[in-house]
Amino acid sequence: MSDAIKEKIKNYRTAPFDARFPNTNQTRNCFQNYLDSHRCNNALSAKGQDVSPCQWYQRVYKSLCPMSWVRE
């Protein structure tokens, strides 16, 4: 995993501003990162690669999504 991504995840404070979702409604932001996290994990583990870059998406969706939405 590249050092840049490692640094970014290490210095994570909270979900940063995402220009794709500039407005008040952040529902899609939570959903998109949730999807991206799971797709990233599935895609990388299917290829047998290191899934740690996917941690970024996981941290973002954990920050944004209400716990009750994510609980199975």
């Binding site: 008040t24 939570c30 920050s63």
Partner: protein, 230 residues
């Protein structure tokens, strides 16, 4: 917080609220001046025995009382738009908190690092200790680090609610299935009160919001304590 026979806004605890307060002062002053002028003119017109039957029109005064209101409106619009865009500035939050509305309490989730979540119920009047505020105090407060940009994501678990803290100039609808974002930064430490602002059933008036802004170390101690408790 609000106090008896209060006429104006609560003291501002965030820069945005300060701006709103000053803008309101500016606009209200214009409104008072115009109203006083109109009232004076009405009284003067009604209480005179003089009559004038020979003035039919006057281009000059028509120009004045068309241009002057337009100028006044511009003087109101410019600060208004300035604040509107100020409120929309891209900010880089240090912390994200989710405020979930339930019937009839709020729950707060701090999930940037650990999964900290807790409920915040109003303290019933009979359980208040002397000095506490009736219908405003809660058992758990939403503690935030002072002078840090905070992002609050507001939603609801059942019906519509609204998360409001007047001292911070915030009101945001809590809609089930939707995440509404608002942000604030507290200029000073303190305790700021608000109440649910969307009718949500029998105890709509009894689910207050309390935000406590503290220095960062206190916030870190508090969150460790809260994590241990839950």
């Amino acid at each position: 917080m609000a106090h008896p026979s209060q006429l104006g806004f609560q003291d501002a605890a965030s820069p945005v609220m300060e701006e709103l307060l000053h803008f309101h002062d500016h606009t209200l002053m214009i409104v008072f001046l115009i109203s006083t002028l109109v009232l004076y003119i009405i009284v003067a017109m009604v209480s005179t025995k003089l009559t004038n039957k020979y003035v039919l029109d006057s281009q000059e005064i028509e120009i004045v009382w068309t241009v002057l209101p337009a100028v006044i409106l511009i003087l109101i619009a410019l600060p208004s738009l300035r604040i509107l865009y100020l409120m929309d500035e891209i900010n880089d939050p240090h912390l994200t908190i989710k405020a979930m509305g339930h019937q009839w309490y709020w729950s707060y989730e701090y999930t940037d690092y650990e999964n900290l979540g807790f409920d915040s119920y109003m303290i019933p009047t009979q359980d208040l200790t002397p000095g506490q505020f009736r219908l405003l105090e809660t058992d758990h407060r939403m503690v935030v680090p002072m002078e840090s940009p905070i992002r609050v994501l507001v939603s609801a678990e059942d019906v519509l609610h609204a998360w409001a803290v007047p001292a911070l100039g915030i009101k945001m609808d809590a809609v089930p299935g939707r995440l509404n974002q608002t942000a604030f930064i507290t200029s000073r430490p303190g305790v700021y009160y608000g109440q649910c602002s969307e009718i949500c059933g029998a105890n709509h008036s009894f689910m207050p919001i309390v935000v406590e802004a503290v220095p960062l170390e206190h916030f870190e101690n508090w969150s460790s304590l809260m994590l241990e408790e839950s």
